[in-house]
Subunit: 130 residues, 2 copies
Amino acid sequence: MNNSMRNPSDRGQFAFDGLDRALHEKARLGILSSLTANPQGLLFTELKALCSLTDGNLSRHMQVLQDAGLVEVWKGSQGKRTQTLVRMTEEGRVRFMDYIGVLEQIVSEASQASQQVEKSMRADLGWSPT
Amino acid sequence: MNNSMRNPSDRGQFAFDGLDRALHEKARLGILSSLTANPQGLLFTELKALCSLTDGNLSRHMQVLQDAGLVEVWKGSQGKRTQTLVRMTEEGRVRFMDYIGVLEQIVSEASQASQQVEKSMRADLGWSPT
């Protein structure tokens, strides 16, 4: 059993305060990724298909993202049909890339830790690099 | 307004089915990252501090992770105190690294898309690389 107490400076090391729940939720992460890849904006119907969401689900998540100032919604008409266009705000773009930076850190630390485990497992087996 | 319809093959492109909710939730992502960095296991009290969680919150998330087969819990005593040791299961390690692979993809696509936007913004301004 590992009984070594952690260093007090490690407190909160894995609290991931940078993972804003407005952005981290799976469907909203999909919406924001779609809009980052399509800076000109996407129609509501396109977003629905790209993110595999129902009308109700997309509306609910859009409300959270609008309230957080991350996306903006435009109404327009094409012929007889009213269309809804969704775009990322400039604040949304900045905050999403900050969030992506936190993910990048998590990925990098997990990959390093995992490689170390595999290295020590190989060492246990008496294997060494050729 | 952007009216170009997406290619039907783009359907679900941003649904992120690989983002298993058992792993993607912020606190559980912290717990799994902590355990990946500490393959020998962590005491419940250590995990609490590392992830900045209360007793109740950590217990609740541990239950989800145990039910999903991602972590295992051991009871032991040190002198008069009963201690709880938490370790990642082998299945947990594999599934967490699969999840990390999905995050890596999201990070890479967002970074590329963002760079393209910046490039086209510089082009709009009439700037060009020196």
